[in-house]
Symmetry: C2
Subunit: 696 residues, 2 copies
């Protein structure tokens, strides 16, 4: 294996792939082999898969130049796809409607190692040579799902690279590229391309509507979601569903105990202990569930999107791994930025957030005192001022910090998408944690006002989440409706102007209208905000179990709605996202586990500080009670750790299946090695050797 490197010089690979993958060359051969009638390959018939919309000021020169790049075969530095040019209603921007021939897409699918189920039930990487082994390979045009095709097109667009140094693009003077830079990503970065989005599939959307967000009690159609939106989105909804299910026991117990008794300490202690252990078991069994899903999706061994970011910059240099010329940014510079700027800035922001909170509590106390001393309507209204002021300040700070976190992470210039996302998530998680929980901690441990804590939690869980759902779903939906009506009307008007329009034109026109409506929708950036929301909710439920047992119930109700509203949002309100494979929820697993560990500390502290505790153990010194709870906390943390160790991260059958694949691959390598040895020694084929021996 390792030595065969010496035989195949690596640089030829790039040349070979350029030579082979070319739309014109490949089509006939494949059709013939697949045993499918050769159709007249009219590329105008191809369904548009991806829209590429230019900025409004871009001229036709530039559009033509990029179109020629996209259309050109791989052998001529193109993408080998099919692009149609279209200028949206007169003064609108230029749009390229991109698709690809089935043959072209299949070949890319093999090189991208996309996996598909075989007829024997196993999951294998697509092989054009062995297409007949795969399920559903009779209808080649629909063998790849639409989202797979769109992912392939994205990948091919991103692989269009400049081959000369400092080329300039017709129509735009200011933009230059280094040699080998990805053109489409560069133009997107430089705002020459306004947006790049895949189109929805109306038929599939109808199915999803029925089975997914309009269903009352039904399992989520995760497999369909994956096929339509890709693994990253499907993984989020799986997690959301699994978490919602996991909330059932705490919600039931919490609700029952709330109804039965007001505040029995034993019950509260039992309940919070149950919750802590339950959270551990939930997160561990999610890992297993996640491994099962990733195995079924064929993504279990993948690196989480390890491609370089388009925005990554640096001096051109040789990549030590691949030997390719690309921007290089020294790691020590990034570390210096991290520790001398990002970290201090984040800490200052956190301190600021805490300071603002303390000021709020101070003013709140003052106004409350004033209104109790001078009771009047005016004074009562005055007590509301700090709360409202605080809410406004928090919102502003949140937005500012959000912007700052993204700017800092961009500036840190991480090479990999995954690193970038991890650093961004960490910053957002830490800040949101302080912003959301510090005031609750203040109420719980400084003010020791459990009634107020309960009230705050209820507000956050019920009111705030309702508001969020409106913000996320209702308002964008109304905006979308407005644009849809406007565009449809303007096109109807156009149509009635052009009285000579025939049926075909009107169908084409329908597609264009659809593409235009899609262009007005917002893009689905990432699952980050959705996970963050869940993360905060997880905190509200588990950090304060000992004080507010009904939290799980409200979270459960919210999540049942959340599944539907998020699904609706993705299907109807936002642009379709490009499918992105993933093997898990990544850094969120760590972050949720950290919250689980923190919950042990808060719950132990809440119980130890509770006034009932002291009345229960009046003959014990305060310091002894505290000692007991410190020991209990350590014991529970140890128990959590042991449970985490005891539950394997992958189900046994998944482990065996993966080992089996590795074993078989190893056997093939060994086979190759044996054949090599055999050749070296000048021996005959083993079968013949055996025959000879049997004869003698």
């Amino acid at each position: 294996m390792a030595l065969s490197l010496l035989e195949f010089p690596v640089p030829t690979l790039a040349v070979m792939s350029l030579m082979i993958i070319s739309a014109e060359d490949t089509s006939p051969g494949l059709r013939k082999r697949g045993g499918i009638k050769e159709k007249d390959l009219d590329t105008t018939e191809l369904k548009t898969l991806v829209c590429l919309e230019f900025a409004s000021k871009v001229t036709e020169d530039t559009v033509d130049w990029l179109k020629s790049k996209i259309d050109a075969p791989k052998t001529k530095d193109g993408a080998g796809l099919v692009a149609k040019k279209w200028k949206r209603n007169g003064d609108g921007p230029w749009v390229l409607l991109i698709s690809g021939t089935t043959e072209r897409l299949l070949l890319s699918a093999e090189l991208m190692e996309i996996k598909k189920p075989c007829k024997d039930g196993s999951l294998r990487e697509i092989s054009v040579k062995h297409l007949d082994l795969f399920q559903d390979s009779e209808d080649l045009d629909h063998f790849l799902t639409m989202s797979e095709k769109q992912r392939i097109i994205l990948q091919e667009l991103e692989s269009i690279r400049t081959l000369d140094e400092d080329i300039s693009i017709p129509g735009i003077k200011s933009v230059t590229f280094y040699r080998g830079e990805a053109i489409v990503a560069g133009l997107l970065m430089k705002k020459v391309i306004y947006q790049l989005y895949p189109l929805h599939d109306k038929k599939e959307l109808k199915y999803l509507a029925k089975e997914w967000y309009q269903a009352v009690v039904k399992k989520q159609p995760i497999e369909h979601v994956r096929r339509y939106f890709g693994e990253t989105v499907a993984m989020y909804f799986s997690f959301l569903g699994y978490y919602t299910l996991a909330l059932l026991p705490p919600a039931t117990i919490g609700l029952v105990s709330k109804l039965l008794t007001e505040s029995d300490l034993d019950l509260l202690i039992f309940f919070s202990f149950f919750n802590l252990i339950w959270a551990t078991i939930f997160l561990e069994s999610w890992k297993r569930n996640c491994a099962t899903l990733a195995y079924q999706w064929g993504t279990i061994n993948m690196e989480p999107f390890s491609k370089a970011r388009a925005a990554y910059y640096g001096e051109l240099g040789v990549n030590p791994v691949t030997g390719i010329l690309e921007p290089q940014y020294p790691n020590w510079k990034r570390l210096v930025k991290l520790y001398t700027v990002s970290l201090p800035v984040v800490i200052v922001c956190l301190c600021l957030a805490v300071k603002v909170m303390l000021i709020f509590f101070y003013w709140d106390a003052i106004t409350a005192e004033y209104s109790s001393k001078h009771p009047s309507t005016m004074a009562t209204l005055l007590t509301l001022v700090p709360g409202i002021g605080y809410a406004i300040v928090v919102t502003i700070m949140n937005a500012a910090y959000n912007w700052l976190a993204r700017a800092l992470t961009d500036w840190e210039n991480h090479r990999l998408e995954s690193c970038h996302e991890n650093h961004l998530v960490m910053k957002l998680v830490v800040f949101n944690f302080v912003n959301c929980f510090m005031s609750l901690f203040h109420i719980a441990f400084i003010q020791k006002n459990m009634e107020m804590l309960r009230r705050s939690l209820a507000t956050l869980l019920i009111v705030q989440q309702l508001i969020q759902q409106c913000q996320e779903t209702l308002i964008p939906y109304l905006i979308y409706k407005y644009y849809k009506r406007k565009i449809t009307k303007s096109h109807e008007k156009q149509n009635s102007d052009q009285s000579d329009s025939d049926d075909e034109w009107s169908e084409m026109n329908n597609d264009l209208i659809f593409a235009e409506i899609e262009s007005k929708k917002r893009a689905y950036v990432s699952t980050l905000d959705d996970y963050l929301e869940l993360y905060l909710q997880f905190g509200y439920v588990f950090l304060f179990s000992a004080v507010y047992p009904t939290a799980a119930f409200w979270a459960l109700c919210n999540n049942v709605m959340e599944i539907r509203s998020d699904a609706f949002k993705l299907c109807r309100i936002l642009q379709r996202p490009f499918s992105r494979p993933t093997s898990g929820i990544g850094v969120w697993q760590v972050v949720f586990e950290a919250m689980g560990a923190l919950a042990v500390m808060t719950n132990c502290a809440l119980v130890a500080h509770s006034p009932q505790m002291k009345s229960l153990m009046p003959d014990h010194k305060e310091v002894d009670i505290l000692m007991w709870f410190v020991m209990a906390e350590h014991a529970i943390l140890l128990l959590k750790y042991l449970i985490e160790m005891a539950i394997p991260d992958e189900p046994e059958w998944v482990k065996i299946a993966i080992e089996k694949v590795e074993y078989e691959a190893n056997q093939i390598l060994n086979m190759q090695r044996l054949i090599d040895i055999q050749k070296t020694l000048g021996l005959q084929h083993p079968k013949e050797a055996k025959k000879r021996e049997e004869e003698s």
Copy 2:
């Protein structure tokens, strides 16, 4: 890759390897190719590498049967090695002296994927086809080191398997084998083979003596140790050396602060904080060092000895991964054993140990009280009784528990060596922890007698470690000396009887004497006990830094001696161990890290409980002081965690080197894929295609 499985049916592999690897067939071809003069291959000339000693009652029938198995070529179910029969002085046991031809060993080395440095400096798996690319391949006989040859012989001996069902062995009626069982491992298990050991190399030993254990101030010759003893032993000595070096700063600071001031609280707090952080940094940077070593040794990506244990039993069934018939033991049975027997038994043992300790403290207090009331020589002697009694009981309990832990782990019937070792290590670590540290905790936190704690620690660190070194090294050395003299004398007597002995015979005889002396030595079972010793020492040093800062200094002194005495032990006192590759220190990393975390708790508790603390903060309530220390403990634990996250586990260059290998392997796979596509489409070779295009 995945699909090519469909082309090569896997079961033929076993047949092929049987066909090809056969001592007779291979030798001439390789010699020819290697360009080396063909020697007359007289197998009696071969140097003995491994000794196989039978139990004393085994008859010549059995010996001949096994010898024929070892000598037979692979094609006839043998090992293809060379064995010489020898009966040790008259009534002594039968011994087989085993070696192998260079060609035979090289072919196995390729199949075992042993890595060697190439002339270009890279590390590659041995390939018989490309031997000329490797360093030192001019002298084929010494291309493999002696320890590599011994490892290959072990592997080949272990691969001798029965092919028929329930075969019986000549001379032994009682032993039967299932079909496909490994014969040598089975005979070792069943005590038919008394021992199997590789021979030392006197010349190499001399070098190691000079450079290693006789050296005063010299870097350990780790690379030589690896080549001689294998990766597992070399890794232990690397760790020991690294840890000793890491003790320098705490030892210096501890000693200086001890000399400067008696018990300044600020200094103690600073010192223990420094120690806690230092321990974290040490363990993290060891990980990096370990990754570097493993990369240089070519073991970084290996699974830690993932082969099935010889003692593994169960009903015969098909292995779901390999499809081979072998013992299968259901996982749930193992889990039932673990949770219903092993875990309770261990807990009972721990409770017993604690109980015994408490009884000791009780009697100690009583005798002390008695002797203070009735002072007399008799009474003073009486106060020594509990201490002596406790020491005896602890020694007995330790031995009993050691036996119990091994028996339980055997009975749990783990399939993999690594699982078995992990479970054994865990049991031993937990018990030894309780046995060694509980009494110290009792003194520190229940009796709150810091003076006594300091005295106990000093005793443990100085006296106990001296005694251990005597036990480990001095006594076995004397026993070895005794045997050596006895055997040499008896042979001299024999020689003087046989007056017709010529020179050649006497040289042969010398080798036999050497083999006989080796047979009397004890085997080096595993690094487990050595790591356990270090682990306990690590605990003494870091758990109580706040009370006894000189601990690090004593540990440092001990370790400087320990390196030398352990090296001496391995080189001179014990049988040479078979070389075992490893990628790290395995579960010990986890166990040391756990001790580091625990040290945070003990040190915080020690400082918080110290009498100086209360006198320093007289106006604070006890409960407040405690609160502060709980928070400090949590903060330090968090800091430790952050440090662990911030330090990457592998140095950047190792990461890049590994990624580069993966990238190149992937490129080759992609290349293969492209060639496949090309063939499918009936295209010509890409180079030709390019030529054609250039012409047109």
